[in-house]
Amino acid sequence: MEHLSHPPEGESGSASGFEVRLENFTGPFDALLSLITKRRLDITEVALATVTDDFIAYIRAMQERGEEWALDEASEFLVIAATLLDLKAARLLPQGEVEDEEDVARLEARDLLFARLLQYKAFKEIAGIFGETLEAEGRRFPRAVSLEPSFAALLPELVWQHTPEQFAALAAKAFAPKEAPPSEVGLTHLHAPPVSVREQAAIIGARLRVGGAQTFRALTADAESRLVVVARFLALLEMFRDRAVAFEQAAPLGELSVRWTAGQDWTAERLSEEYDDEPQEEREEQHAG
């Protein structure tokens, strides 16, 4: 009986070629992540916009060199960057003294985001081990042959009771599209912020549909607190993910212009449960392609 082996110490699941150059850090993206998860570097000190620009430049350079578009690396970057953004948002939320339960919950939520990031990284590494093991094991082929005719002849005669019509009904059942099974409700491990991202998305949606393209500054001009600004920003990211809006930005850190790209029938109900503790069945259904 063999056991799966662990990769050598210090070896990461994927050797990402992407390097980050920041004021307070220079090195591989993986190393940055590792520092943040070990809390050796404060996430609020990391300029995520710069990291993202660097990454886009990196991918462009790869394309120009004619190298294959690294889809896995890009999607992995997106997942990690999105988590870092969550993390940063959670950190930037006004905190002050820990006075009531809500504040405590918020602090715990931050830890949960750390945990989520760590968890994701761990599974990614395990996935690497799985991949290698499956490949190594794939070099063995099992004996899976049909029964020798002499033994097949011993099998009891089949009892067959189906008429051609009944058989056709069976076939129809087999061909019928499978209904998407119901999904779980709620993500209880994520905190519910006092400002609903979905509500803010509805507000943004209403304004964009009526007023045409607007800048992010204009969209948040009336925000009564920083929390609302953060919620609107997150809402925009969600809407972008849902292809409800498009962004235009002439230069890095320049004015961000937001344009409506969805139809009139779009509603904020479509948005994810990620920030608001709501049922997520709807979205799951719609994405079940």
Binding site: F141, A144, S146, P156, L158, H162, F175
Partner: protein
């Protein structure tokens, strides 16, 4: 390739192939002269016989295959018949239905339609004589499966063309024809 390695390579292939393989085919794969392969195969068969192994290597109808030794037929048939029923499982029936209406079809397509792995069920259907191999897909090289005349006989129809049309049971199936099920 050295003597022992050549024989071992033959053992490796023959242990996992389902259909008997001709010495000519084996010779081509191993890039060895056919007489040499014949000699190696005969040598292996004699070795298993002399050592009284539970398996034997036999050349049947122009192909070589591993079989269980007839001496143990009683134990083997006891094992084979254990838990056997005379009815097909629901999974086997549905798989058979998909093959009947989509033949010739590779297992991967049947798996995609049924949403589960069907490898072992297809082997059961083959053992039961209801389904048989029908060449390989020219593009993917995957083995294609079709129903047998025994299947027609059991169903009481003369040909596959006499299978009831599916549309009465599933309105709109015709439109499904063009949809690609594989992923």
């Amino acid at each position: 390739m050295q003597g022992d390695r050549r024989a071992a390579a033959l053992e490796a292939v023959l242990m996992v192939v389902d259909e008997p393989v001709s010495s000519a085919e084996l010779a081509a794969t191993l890039e060895l002269p056919e007489p040499e392969v014949e000699e190696l195969l005969t040598g292996l068969a004699a070795e298993y016989d002399a050592a009284g192994r539970g398996f034997e290597l036999r050349s049947v109808a122009g192909g070589w295959r591993f079989y269980s030794r007839p001496e143990f037929a009683e134990i083997v048939s006891h094992y084979v018949l254990e838990g056997q029923t005379s009815r097909l499982t629901q999974a086997a029936l549905e798989t058979l239905a998909v093959i009947a209406y989509r033949q010739p079809v590779p297992r991967s397509r049947v798996a995609a339609i049924r949403g589960v792995n069907v490898d072992s069920v297809v082997r059961t259907l083959v053992s039961r004589g209801l389904v048989e191999e029908a060449g390989t897909d020219p593009e993917s090289g995957a083995i294609l499966y079709q129903t047998t005349s025994y299947f027609l006989e059991r169903l009481g129809i003369g040909s596959v063309a006499e299978l009831p049309r599916l549309s009465p049971h599933l309105p709109g199936l015709d439109e499904l024809g063009a949809i690609e099920f594989e992923r």
